[in-house]
């Protein structure tokens, strides 16, 4: 019997750290002995850069456009520790339809049964920003990824995007779509009193879990400047340890769930509550609940 390929989709607000986190996750899983493919679903085509010394690779859609015929092997490049790197690519900003591009790219690889041929253990999709249209929901639709993780900071806009993603997952959950594995908290300041608490509270309210708290760290920046993941560039750093721990949790993760997204109204009310609390914390005027009554 063919082994089951674990397919994971990583979503999150633009610039939140999806590609950084995904690449470190891929690298750590690969170090653990798994065969991993990282599939960038973003017209920028920069998802796998730090797995390949900062270099760009030809994208699926470029190859399709230029050659008319597409051979999946031409779009697969190996990076750090033999990780297979693929970039979907897409149109230049402001023209065409990036969503349709992602649908096409994912379908092309699936049709050519390349994941089975390469005997992969993991396929990790790094998907652009918000779920703005049907195309960006493709990895969470039936038969692609099984698990979705969302990268979020404690910023309201990041949480807003995560909540939107949860709505998308909920929508497809009855028709065999991917379910939510959990939240990967990124850029958490270790000394902040409330950042962790905000993410924890959001996860609790939406019926999900936090997979890992990743601190904001200069190590990540340094590694990126060398065109590498933290795992490759500074394998002994504390930050690398955090990513390895994340990989172990993802590796052990089996059951994803349908999340319980907040309505827009509830989300706003929730954010307003937190903003009051943060103000109070920062002005040193921490009122107890008893005082408010």
């Amino acid at each position: 019997m063919a082994k089951e390929i674990k397919q994971i989709a990583i979503y999150g607000k633009g610039g939140i750290g999806k590609s950084t986190t995904t690449s470190n996750l891929s690298a750590a899983l690969s170090d653990m002995g798994y065969k991993v493919m990282q599939f960038g679903c973003d017209p920028k085509a920069d998802s796998t850069n730090t797995l390949r010394d900062g270099s760009y690779i030809p994208t699926v859609l470029e190859l399709l456009r230029d050659k008319g015929k597409f051979n999946a092997h031409e779009a697969i490049f190996t990076g750090y520790n033999g990780i297979y790197c693929v970039e979907a690519g897409g149109p230049a900003p402001g023209v065409g339809c990036a969503g349709r591009g992602i649908i096409t790219a994912v379908q092309l690889l699936k049709q050519q049964k390349i994941f089975e041929e390469l005997d992969l253990d993991y396929v990790i999709y790094d998907v652009l920003g918000d779920v703005v249209c049907g195309g960006f929901a493709v990895p969470i639709r039936e038969g692609i990824a099984q698990h979705v993780f969302t990268v979020s900071s404690s910023d309201f806009m990041a949480i807003y995007a995560a909540n939107n993603l949860f709505k998308g997952i909920q929508k497809y959950s009855n028709s065999g779509g991917a379910l939510l594995g959990g939240v990967i908290a990124n850029s958490v300041a270790p000394d902040s009193t409330y950042q962790k608490a905000i993410i924890d509270d959001f996860a609790a309210r939406t019926d999900t879990q936090v997979m890992q708290y990743i601190p904001r760290s200069i190590t990540v920046t340094q590694s990126e400047l060398n065109g590498k993941t933290t795992i490759e560039a500074q394998p002994d750093s504390a930050q690398a340890k955090v990513y390895r721990q994340l990989a172990e949790r993802v590796g052990g993760h089996t059951e994803s769930k349908t999340p319980n997204p907040l309505s827009l109204q509830d989300l706003r009310a929730w954010a307003a509550e937190w903003s009051d609390q943060i103000l109070a914390i920062e002005s040193g005027d921490v009122r107890g609940e008893a005082m408010a009554i």
Binding site: L61, L64, R65, G90, P91, A92, V95, G96, C97, A98, R100, G101, T104
Partner: protein
């Protein structure tokens, strides 16, 4: 034939692009350029043929150039393909005017047709463009938008108005299957009164008619709903007044129509009266001879009219007011918004009927039949009932089935018409009224 209990809706119009293409194909020496997938041009060419086999003409129907975009353009954008297509069209096709029309896909992905056309200017011939993705509306809407864009992008604004010139608008090529005959007859009548007429879409028209349309002092819209928005825009852009009226069929309606226009253009009664008197005399001299067979044949019928918002009321009015039939039902088959429905209701209210018919807005063919069956005692298990008999159905070719159910006769007058070819025949005006009478009696005599 068993009654199908799962209705399969049979369309009575196509998409916005369909109306734009049918109209473009009817304009003098005008070439459409479709920016869309190949299925658009292909299927819409077929759709145009359903208007009584309204064929290709100069560059319409099967002769329409198209960018035929495919997946690659959907993803990366199709502007480059459009640019190449326009250049290519200028190499192989001659025309006096070119109309770039986008389709659903290219609108969805946001291709900027205007920017492409503008970047290619100056072009050897005038080119206009419009966003006509099918999802924006139906073919009648497409007609109105094209007329609007013709004025905005092509027809020069003229401050000097010709007080005796009008544009006759509102009939949609192919989708109003008798548009050519109807417009030709109304033009003939207005010409008699000394009025110059631009129709844009009949075969006598040249680019000259388009280019001087801005000098007209009146836009006559022969539809209560289609072309009305265009007329409002043109009032703003070209300062041309407009008049919304019904398509006149038969002597009374046509006389009223002619007088309405003459009044509006301040043409003296002394001119109008003798001209109309001659027309009317001529009309009834033909009717006169037909009365023999009418009297012999028990010719009076109950009628059901199934047609679009432009034609349905005029046909019903003709049947009642001009030839004394009893229209029992008027079904309007296009998908109208509230305002449009209100416009039709109010026009309906103005028509005098001996017995008021039921006015029903219904797009679903099966439900039209169902409506009659469920609301007419004849189809209920009543012992004494008034019947719709003898019945006559005026509708599209789809209504042949309804005529069978009513055990009545049938004449195709509205889109789609595939059981006969329509060349120059029209039902509007004096001559059209006679044509219609001829066809209504002829149908009943056909079995002899």
């Amino acid at each position: 034939m068993a009654i199908c209990d799962k209705p399969i809706e049979r369309p009575r119009f196509s998409c916005m692009l369909g109306g734009v293409l049918a109209t473009t194909g009817a304009l003098p020496r005008t070439v459409p350029i479709i920016h869309g997938a190949q299925g658009c041009g292909g299927s819409l060419a077929q759709g145009i043929l359903l208007g009584g086999y309204y064929g290709t003409g100069y560059a319409g129907s099967g002769g329409m150039p198209s960018t035929n975009i495919s997946e690659s353009e959907v993803i990366f954008g199709g502007e480059e393909k459009l640019r190449e297509e326009i250049k290519g069209v200028f190499e192989v096709m001659q025309g006096d005017l070119f109309v770039v029309s986008t389709a659903c896909m290219t609108d969805i992905i946001g291709d900027d047709a205007k920017a492409v056309v503008d970047s290619l200017r100056p072009l050897p011939k005038p080119v206009i463009f419009l966003e006509s993705g099918g999802f924006k509306g139906n073919s009648y809407y497409g007609y109105g938008r094209l007329i609007e864009e013709l004025f905005l992008q092509y027809i020069p604004i003229s401050t000097k108005k010709n007080l005796k010139a009008v544009n006759l608008l509102g009939l949609v090529p192919a989708y109003d299957p008798f548009f050519r005959g109807d417009l030709a007859e109304l033009k003939r009548i207005l010409n008699l009164l000394g009025i110059e007429v631009n129709t844009f879409v009949t075969s006598d028209q040249t680019q000259e008619n388009l280019l001087k349309a801005g000098e007209a002092s009146l836009n006559i819209i022969l539809s209560r709903v289609y072309g009305v928005e265009a007329a409002k825009t043109i009032k703003e852009s070209h300062d041309i007044d407009y008049l919304v009226t019904d398509l006149p069929i038969g002597a009374k309606a046509t006389e009223n129509f002619a007088r309405l226009i003459a009044d509006r253009l301040e043409i003296s009664k002394n001119v109008v009266d003798p001209l109309l008197a001659a027309e009317i005399k001529n009309y009834y001299s033909f009717i006169d001879r037909a009365t023999d067979v009418i009297a012999d044949t028990d010719f009076q019928n109950y009628a059901v009219v199934v047609a679009n918002a432009t034609q349905a009321l005029p046909y019903a009015r003709y049947l009642d007011n001009e030839i004394g039939w009893i229209p029992t039902h008027i079904f309007i088959t296009d998908d109208l918004d509230e305002d449009q429905e209100a416009a039709i209701r109010s026009a309906f209210g103005e028509i005098e009927f001996e017995t008021r018919p039921d006015l029903v807005f219904e797009t679903d063919t099966f439900k039209i039949q169902q409506y009659i069956e469920q609301n007419t005692p004849q189809f209920l298990a009543d012992e004494y009932y008034p019947t719709i008999s003898p019945a006559f159905v005026l509708g599209s070719t789809i209504e042949r089935r309804l005529a069978e159910v009513l055990k009545g006769n049938f004449l195709s007058v509205s889109y789609p018409i595939i059981n006969r070819i329509i060349i120059s025949k029209g039902y509007a005006g004096f001559r059209g009224g006679l044509n219609l009478l001829e066809d209504l009696i002829g149908t009943q005599l056909a079995g002899r």
